[in-house]
Symmetry: C2
Subunit: 462 residues, 2 copies
């Protein structure tokens, strides 16, 4: 369901919202979307993610440097807008089923942060998971009284992903929580802690601020200096040092959060959190079952039939289907490795790709030709472009398409068609109020998406 | 994999042969294809089955009347060609892995039949199956010596599908065999037995023979009289009476056959007989596995990934995927019932349909348009036709298509296209030596296959 070109946070898993959209909506009404800043890899923001990021303020990391530098640039961005800003740091690909409970925790955390605390959310662990980091507290007490005001638990240590034996000790001791990667603090406080404990990063931030003071945008300054930042996590690089500091340790609080949280690291996790029928099945899409129990099916328009099965997930997409036993779902990466090794392409992208102007779906991809359905939103306008190796035949099946083909521009109605020879400049546009749909038949010796010369583009891709 | 429009015998399960073709090839060199007569339902012989039946002599049943009348008309056909003909009665949708062993049994059976015997093949049972009929013999002895000459076992009774307790008794007694529905006898002998034990059927056969003597074809006579035949199986209507007859009982022989037989009543059966890898998996098509055991995957071009699963079958087709636990596979019919009840269409036909001239594949089926890839074999010629409700856009992507469009006929090369308005007479033809492929975009308010007026057809469908 997620692909190299479409990371997990841009996927719609349970609703019509992507995990990113769901993460943002979950903060409302406490944090309005216009206060959201997304920090993401520049490379990952191309193609389809661009569509999902478009509504939000975005900071792009030119290279990967783990969480401390990413959080630091977001903090710079926040204090530029409000020197006293509290920032809430959230992974964008997690799931939380108890949104009201989460919002109560968030309210508590913000109050504590306003008073100077570094707040972490500690997920009350349900099993000795070896895939998460843990946070040890002075005492474990998840009673509601503990959640009020600045009464979060005091953090004594951060623990990396443990082995099985350690995880079992952690669970038995009842003073450990899962580290959810969610943090709340004042932007100024985390920048001060970085200055104290990660001077190498502080130096890089200082260079960025100098550039910004000289008139550069923050993004330009990031492009200039980000690569020089140390690659280190905020937990390991800053919070552990805070926990060890006699003066600051008391500011490090953990709010126990029993909120139906998952980082959706496997299909098991999705099934556990999903709504289920009387047989314990979670079913989505065109699905028929008989004697199926504790089974998850994620289907689309294609029929998926599950007969007599138990404890499995069946995940169907237009070009690939995954069947996996619960408890084995993390092994899916082995299949992805095999796919890469055999030059497979199903891990790279979906047959349907979304673009700022609409979307396209590959209906057939053959050596001699490719067939696509192209959907253009009202107001959508593809780039003025040409192809060196392919001709295109367009048949409009819905809406009114405004087509530039060489020197001529004309409107095509449903059941009208046009032919675009190799090398001809052309553009597709929807000036109407209804969606335009057309079938494109590409013919040529090379049919890759990269055979495109862009002369003009509404979305800055030329 | 089988659909309403494509019964099991026309499906390719293990090789590039359909089960029907495999059944016919299995007789060779004993029975050449030109001696084969296929008896099948007239309704089932339409559409794609036509393509598979075309190479063979065929008798069509206008209505279903069980096996006795079907075998009787085949016997009439056989004696018309050779009054002394031995006929081998074979279901066309079974599987036999030990072909050499089968051919040895067949040779024995034919010898016995030439001497006047009614021979059945008794499958040596491996488990108390409740889905098959059984044949009880005087003694059970499957030693090779028993197979020579006329030394088949004597049949004492035919048993309908038993309940579990009875099936277990049958297995324990070691005198029962599975009834495979395969029989060998002289055509004249079975017609004489029908005369003796099924006079109502004999009367109908007499009417047919009278018509044939007056110059009608056998098929015409069948159309005229077949509906009046009693609906009864050959076992129940004739063989049981033979077994009970003091004079004829000794002629009823069973040849024990341990030949890797299956009627392929479930996917379990297919998996049991398939070649397996070291993990006990039988995999076909684009499949990746990790920690999968005793699992069957039938895939095509779409990727199927199986992770951590055990004892299941995953059967993928372009518009539907079935996942079923071994031992539950016969319950697939419940899913088909649900599909019918919800007006599903996946049980009716495949996205790819074969026709005498080639094939077409539905790439997209939407309310406003339908997209197909059409493949025309060299020499293939679609009917001269028109449509009342749809226009068609054709883009040739391979070969040279000869296209009649109204009054004009012209050759279209790859990357050339044409438009066929609603109501226009048109025809597609391949006069070249290479396969023609084209993409068809249909646009119209009604896009059903039945919107077709045929004016002329090479294959007699006008």
């Amino acid at each position: 369901v997620s692909r190299q070109s479409l990371p997990k946070q841009f996927v719609k898993l349970f609703t019509d919202d992507t995990l990113l959209e769901a993460t943002i909506k979950r903060q409302s009404p406490i944090i309005p979307p216009e206060h959201v800043t997304i920090v993401t890899a520049a490379a990952a923001a191309k193609g389809e993610p661009m569509v999902h990021l478009a509504p939000y303020r975005t900071l792009l990391e030119p290279v990967a440097r783990n969480t401390a530098p990413a959080i630091a640039i977001a903090a710079l961005d926040a204090i530029a807008r409000d020197g006293d800003a509290v920032m809430v740091v959230l992974p964008s690909d997690h799931m939380i089923t108890d949104v009201a409970g989460y919002q109560r925790c968030l309210g508590e955390a913000i109050k504590a942060a306003q008073a100077g605390a570094f707040v972490t959310f500690g997920i009350v662990p349900t099993h000795p998971e070896t895939g998460y980091g843990y946070i040890q507290c002075t005492t474990r007490n998840a009673a509601p009284a503990q959640l009020s005001g600045k009464s979060g638990l005091h953090v004594s240590a951060f623990k990396e992903k443990p082995d099985r034996a350690a995880a079992e000790r952690f669970i038995a001791s009842t003073t450990y929580y899962w580290n959810s990667g969610m943090f709340v603090w004042k932007a100024s406080a985390i920048l001060a802690a970085i200055k104290a404990h990660l001077p190498a990063l502080h130096d890089v931030l200082t260079c960025m601020q100098t550039d910004v003071a000289a008139g550069a945008t923050l993004q330009a300054a990031i492009h200039q200096h980000f690569a020089y930042a140390p690659s280190i996590s905020i937990d390991h690089g800053v919070l552990e040092a805070v926990a060890a500091s006699p003066y600051n340790a008391q500011k490090l609080l953990l709010i126990p959060a029993n909120i139906g949280w998952s980082d959706i690291g496997s299909w098991d996790a999705v099934h556990k959190l999903a709504d289920k029928d009387a047989n314990g099945n979670s079913l989505r899409g065109h699905v028929l079952t008989h004697n199926a129990y504790n089974t998850q099916v994620q289907a689309g328009k294609r029929l998926v039939a599950a007969v007599g099965v138990r404890d499995i997930s069946i995940i169907d997409t237009p070009d690939a289907v995954l069947v996996t036993q619960h408890g084995e779902a993390q092994a899916v990466r082995h299949v992805v490795e095999k796919l890469k090794a055999t030059s497979g392409r199903e891990h790279i992208e979906h047959l349907t790709a979304h673009r700022p102007w609409g979307s396209y779906t590959v209906l057939e991809d053959a050596a001699t030709h490719k067939v696509k359905r192209i959907v253009v939103k009202p107001g959508g306008r593809l780039s003025l472009q040409s192809h060196d190796h392919r001709a295109e035949h367009w048949v409009v099946v819905a809406g009114i398409a405004t087509v530039t083909n060489g020197e001529t521009v004309r409107d095509l109605k449903p059941n009208q068609s046009t032919y675009i020879p190799v090398g001809e400049k052309h553009r597709l546009e929807n000036k109407g109020a209804d969606v335009v749909e057309l079938i494109e038949v590409q013919v040529g010796g090379y049919l890759g998406e990269d055979d495109i010369r862009r002369y003009d583009d509404l979305y800055g891709r030329a």
